[in-house]
């Protein structure tokens, strides 16, 4: 029925082994290639060199990671709040949903490359434009997931609640909202992977600090090793956020984890 919603996130460490192996071997191949070919580190630095750069520049990376993380969290919190509030409004007012949905779809078609400089132009180099861009990028997957999720409620459960004398609000709280949770988490995980990237992109376009600025400066001074060091940090950030949502999902969707007798 809900085939587009992953049934269970990875369970146990054993499942992660193939992934770890493939990542490690990719790095090994990369390292070996760089050493054997003698390619210049200005073209392609070896993973070991990138690692060295992370250690050497840890203070710089840390100081610039904090603003990126702030923008990501603030943007995400904003987008989550708006997406949820709006989803409730849309669920109770189907007409409004039909009127507004095209606008949201259009908001997703705007190329970030064009929008980001404009937002920076309007809101300056501080936190605001980054928060807005993160929110813009992460908002839609969550909104769609929630709206779809409400719609996927078992009609028989709704009929039952109506027969019990439930109000529309009670039906929303007790049936539609919980029904939407698996969908919501699917949307959340898509959003979270966009969030850090959006923050970095916004910084890249204009900011005082942040991983995006580190990348920009490193690129301008021909330091691909430092660019990659910042990339590693940003990927790690995304992975950590991803892990947090997976953990949250396991708590909230515990009922999907329990053994089925059928």
């Amino acid at each position: 029925m809900q085939s587009d919603v992953p049934r269970r996130p990875g369970r146990g460490l054993a499942r992660g082994i193939p992934a770890v192996l493939s990542v490690v071997s990719a790095f090994l191949i990369w390292e070996t290639y760089v050493r054997l070919s003698g390619i210049s580190p200005l073209m392609l630095p070896a993973p070991s060199r990138v690692l060295d750069q992370i250690v050497l520049n840890r203070a710089l990376l840390w100081d610039n990671m904090v603003p990126t993380l702030k923008a990501t969290f603030a943007g995400f919190a904003l987008s989550l709040t708006v997406a949820f509030s709006l989803s409730v409004v849309l669920d109770f007012m189907p007409r409004v949903r039909r009127a507004l949905f095209p606008i949201f779809v259009v908001s997703q078609t705007l190329p970030l490359v064009a929008i980001a400089p404009l937002v920076v132009l309007w809101f300056g180099f501080d936190l605001t434009p980054k928060v807005l861009l993160v929110a813009l990028v992460t908002f839609f997957p969550m909104l769609v997931a929630l709206v779809d999720g409400y719609g996927a409620t078992d009609p028989e459960i709704e009929d039952l609640m109506r027969a019990m004398g439930a109000t529309r609000g009670q039906i929303f709280r007790s049936a539609r909202f919980p029904s939407a949770m698996p969908y919501f988490f699917a949307g959340l995980r898509i959003s979270i992977t966009y969030a850090v990237v959006a923050a970095i992109f916004a910084e890249y376009v204009g900011a005082r600090a942040g991983l995006g600025i580190v990348i920009l400066n490193a690129k301008n001074s021909f330091r691909p090793d430092l660019v990659l060091a910042a990339v590693v940090i940003s990927s790690a950030l995304t992975l950590v956020l991803f892990a947090i949502t997976a953990l949250l999902q396991r708590v909230v969707l515990r009922w999907r984890e329990v053994g089925s007798t059928r």
Partner: protein, 251 residues
Amino acid sequence: MSLLDIQNVSVTFGATAILDEISLHVAKGEFVSILGPSGAGKSTIFRLLTGAARHDSGKITYNGQPLATKHHGFGFMPQRDALMPWRRIIDNLTLGLEVQGIHRKNARAQVTPLLADFGLDGFARHYPSQLSGGMRQRAALLRTIAQNRPVQLLDEPFGALDALTRTQMQAWFEMRWRAARWTTLLVTHDVREAVALSDRIYVLSRRPARVIAEVHVPAPRPRMGRRVSAEAHAVEAQLLEILLNQTGETL
């Protein structure tokens, strides 16, 4: 006087006639079954009673009063169990009471003593997916009963079960019913079940459904878990003949 009275009720969905001048009644404490082929319109009758559908003509009265649109005198058990997979069994059972505005804690206190009778002792904190089909049906039944409504509407409560479990559940249900005497309207397509449980049985034709027979079941109770009495046998034979004959008509 009958508690629930359905008089000449017709329903059409679009161009399709579903119910054709259906009349039936249920007295207080009575167990009445609606027996008919799949797709006849049995569930539709319940949808009228729970306010999920409207009839086009005819009259439904409850306690002598026309049935209000927002009437909640019925405990309704839908055809599939409709348990909420994200709620633990205990929280599924209290759903009806919560809807009535009873605090979750008090609702639990009301339901918990009933768990044992419904064979759900020790399963209160399980999720529906962890229960067998029979247990899920009992849970759905208890969720219905726990609402303390004066009339129970049960839509094929044992229809989804395997034959053995179904027979066990019917026997168990007969026992519970004999103890509690809920006013019950049961929908089924199972002749055996109707005869085993009912005081009276209405037989519906194929769609558009008409009442083609009303049969009293004089057999002594309990009827399950012992040899089928001669009276019950006679009623079963009579019902089968009615059902087969009316199928023959349409061929």
